[in-house]
Symmetry: C2
Subunit: 301 residues, 2 copies
């Protein structure tokens, strides 16, 4: 396996002004893996309950995703319910039931251990570190975290940051993590905490990549309709890491292309409810949208 992803596998109930979906397959690792699967073989480490059936397994396996790392536990899977306002940047969580996820202790199948690329999705930073411990030979570790962990477990988040090569967080999280309101200074502070690269996700405004050698700014894709933004950030991460794994490169030029592929996958994820669009997506559509990003950003030097 060239890429391993650890994170939540969930069922989501989603309401947006465009409609609603009840208990559809979701979770950060699900979106990540589906997005990454358009580029590279990927294995998933997560936990599900009795409600995760063969039809849910097939969503992964039909995209060639390895599910040997998906543990089954008695009880129900992680459940999340949320509602988006007319402005899709504003979302309200209605329900969060951790269920089997509450006692998640990630265990990597032996076949995963030698993988070169690892993505530590947004879970308890202590667990993220334990997973990294199990893959000492990983060449490139990407990671995500969130406001809850930054506030509640700052020391563990610091240890996690020392383990990741690339951190992907949103603008508010970058400010919270560093205490800086200026994103450029926040980025520099994050790079001082361990990661050699940082992506700040700015939602519809795009994403920025910061490394020791410079900054790269990518605009958001001009979607006319955001059907459901759930999982857009995880799909961004999946597209980005999947692309890096596919070309086995992590230099600045590869990271820049990867940010665009991440933006492509994140934009597709918003076009339908849940994982629907990622499942239907064809590689030709991915490449077409990448070319649209070229057209979207080019100007004469």
């Amino acid at each position: 396996m060239s890429l391993i992803a650890v994170g939540s596998i969930a069922f989501d109930s989603i309401r947006t002004p465009h409609g609603s979906a009840e208990r559809v397959l979701g979770g950060a690792a699900t979106y990540f893996a589906l997005a990454a699967s358009h580029f590279s073989p990927v294995g998933v480490v997560g936990v599900v309950g009795d409600d995760f059936g063969a039809e849910h397994e097939r969503v992964f396996t039909e995209r060639g995703i390895d599910i040997a790392g998906i543990e089954r536990a008695p009880g129900k899977s992680f459940f999340w319910a949320g509602e988006y306002e007319k402005n899709p940047n504003i979302r309200h969580t209605l329900t969060t039931e951790l269920n089997v996820f509450a006692s998640f202790a990630p265990k990597l199948p032996p076949a995963y251990i030698d993988s070169k690329f690892l993505f530590l999705g947004n879970i308890d930073p202590e667990l993220q570190c334990r997973v990294a411990d199990q893959m000492p030979a990983a060449k490139f570790v990407g990671g995500d975290t969130m406001n809850y962990w930054i506030a509640q477990q700052p020391d563990q988040v610091r240890q996690f940051l020392a383990r990741v090569d690339l951190l992907m967080i949103n603008d508010a999280e970058a400010m919270q993590l560093t205490g800086e309101v200026n994103l450029t200074r926040a980025a520099r502070a994050v790079l001082g905490m361990g990661p050699r690269a940082l992506v700040i996700k700015r939602g519809e405004h795009g994403a920025s990549l910061y490394t020791g050698t410079g900054v790269f700014g990518a605009p958001g894709y001009p979607l006319e309709e955001v059907c459901d933004p759930t999982g857009a950030g995880d799909s961004f991460a999946g597209g980005l890491m999947g692309y890096l794994a596919s070309c086995d490169a992590v230099d600045d030029a590869a990271l820049r292309r990867a940010v665009i592929y991440g933006s492509v996958l994140g934009s597709f994820a918003c076009e339908r409810f849940g994982v629907e669009r990622l499942v239907q997506l064809r590689r030709a559509e991915v490449d077409q949208r990448y070319r649209e990003f070229v057209a979207l950003t080019r100007f004469d030097a």
Copy 2:
């Protein structure tokens, strides 16, 4: 004159976490003209009071700006006082005194009438239309407006929109003007109101250009320190229109380059209090930062 700008000339008292400045020269037309002057001859149409002295005149004339269109009226100049929070995106207006600006009736010197490029700064949309009436031969009209006019004089704003080739507004104004929360749809709606091009300014997140043939997304310049964001949007507009006037072109490729030059001037404006940085700026610095934008945005096709 190749470019004429109409708008406010003011004195500003500004407080930011980096310091404060008392009654320094400001106003939209001032920032615009200083930014544009790095590219093209520019004339200013505005009104000032008795407090506008020879030293203020020199700020314009030393940059080669034509001030024949600056009317002097008895009383005081427009005065604005404001304060920025640690996050420079949050600003509080402390005082607005219209003074001589309250009865501003823009009159164009005869030498201005044949100018090809016109910028209608953010003033009463009825006045904006009257200025456009005085320059029927203008090849390209840029314009700005704000939430106040959109809410208070929607019909006049519509008439103004029918007169401009390029509208430059921020994201919140685009949503307010169209009732659309999605910026891509908002942009399409604005293009349906008259302008053949629209720039949506997204502050630190950059700017987007929408025309009939496509979208162009430019990132924000990664400033590590925003000393004073006053006038950044007007400087953006000045850099953009000044560049267009300098090359006498308004095709899509020129508009894209112009958005970058606008971003360059907007970023410089934030580096010092008031107009200080725009006054000191050298063309070589402008060109250097343009090249930095190239580096900031390039990725392999």
